[in-house]
Symmetry: C2
Subunit: 334 residues, 2 copies
Amino acid sequence: MRVAVVGAGSWGTALARLAAARAEVRLWAREPEVVAAIRERRENTLYLPGHRLPEAVAATGDLSEVLDGADIVIMAVPSHGFRDILRRALPHLPAAAPLISVTKGIEQDSLKRMTEIVLDETGCAPESVGVLTGPNLAREIADGQPAATVVALSDPDAARAVQALFMGPTLRVYTNPDVVGCEAAGALKNVMAIAAGMAAGLGYGDNSTAALITRALAELTRLGVALGGRPLTFAGLAGMGDLVATCISPQSRNRQVGVALGRGRRLEEITAEMRMVAEGVKTTDAVLALAGRHDIEMPIAAMVGRVLYEGCNPADMVAGLMGRAAKAELHGIA
Amino acid sequence: MRVAVVGAGSWGTALARLAAARAEVRLWAREPEVVAAIRERRENTLYLPGHRLPEAVAATGDLSEVLDGADIVIMAVPSHGFRDILRRALPHLPAAAPLISVTKGIEQDSLKRMTEIVLDETGCAPESVGVLTGPNLAREIADGQPAATVVALSDPDAARAVQALFMGPTLRVYTNPDVVGCEAAGALKNVMAIAAGMAAGLGYGDNSTAALITRALAELTRLGVALGGRPLTFAGLAGMGDLVATCISPQSRNRQVGVALGRGRRLEEITAEMRMVAEGVKTTDAVLALAGRHDIEMPIAAMVGRVLYEGCNPADMVAGLMGRAAKAELHGIA
């Protein structure tokens, strides 16, 4: 079997390394220094230092070399470059191979998910376009910490092929036919990590956090269902799993922004100190725009938006959330 | 409106205090010193010290006084004493009042949930017997930390009455018609907190924990659905909410037992040092018996059982879990 991995960031590289146990892997890197490091030192020193890449991983900067004859294509490029790189890959995309996006995010302006971009740009059959997603920090998985992920593809044979490719002694891979739900959950969760951080920054405890995360999941589910996802998908690894990891991990940049906001710092101050902008600072806007387009109420996301973009006080926002009208728990979901 | 709260532990007392904003509350305490403290000092010094009880809360050791003329009955006694106290309450139970259990647990031997015991022992109409459950630490709620809970009752009017009774500026109350699902989730979760603790004790990070909690929820959902609950209930406050709180809170005794087991200590040593036995040490057995009765696979709960009762090594158990056959994510649920 031949696997193409397009994108040699930390996650693309970690996946290439896992797939190399069962397949011949070609890994495309944008940066010539990454290609050189892998070729010469068997290590992606820039994005996944400290993890040896086996000989079964061949690095190249040439998309045709990576894609030619691939049985499975993994797209692992950042969301903002996804459409552009896909266009460059297009002439070389093998016709029948399943195409799996592992990119979490939505395209600015179009508000499209990555698989929607794939269907826009390519002639791929919808049933063989999917995602792999879940609570997956590349470094923890490369370190061999026990982890689980979900591959969503509507073609069950293709799903099982991808499952078999990545399943290993420290990674369990589950299948789920709901591509839209799995992808939406991963793409939209970052706003909720900012909210969870705010709760911590305001000094609230584990019960408040758990209640907030649960109601955040209800919001994501409402929006995901409006987009065409299935409610139970959001209770799985792509939804709850990824959300819990992002909301409790002190490593999550989105959570860090929330903590600082909860402690009363201003967004400009916080982002000025961070090397990379937290994804949620940009995607909150997009999440709210999507919710508006589908007429879905998302009170927690809206609260985060008002703190981020209008400078509102987090404690006042929490009081506003608590004072909303009484509801049924599955309102807007089932 | 008159509310009867049977049981003046920390949670019963906290609920009596909340209800007193809208109703005349009678609170039954087993211990005469609790009755005396509330009468003389307006404080349950034994179980909820530091929180003043308003005059609208009348404490008594007489069940007839508490129950006579009550419009809503809240049962807040420990699971091991539930049936006995219910039998003593029986002659005084008002015929038409909704009866709400806030007790999490299942009865040893019979493996029954508290509402099953109510239906066994009383002539209450099934549609007015329900539960109030969620990620609710009595002290955090009494302190006014933002929290959310769910009231499950199949009679929607009764559900809304209980919702209105407890809803306040720092507690959001949601309704859910699924009594079995809400009650099962709360009753069965403790075994999973031991598992989450073990993962932490073994040194695993937030992604492993999030994956474990998510798969733990899938197990609880499978069993809960077999008992008659609805899958989406488990994604709500009674399921995911309570599970996340119990699994991440360093205050959770079940989690503490798991952490110590993960670090290689023996159960006898751990329990010898704890003042109160962690609930999950006893209920794991009951959860596995229930799963066996309904022929439900619960690999994580079974792993906890083997560590607790057979002295198996947690690291070996994790390796066994990771090596299971590949599955669809919603296997056994949908």
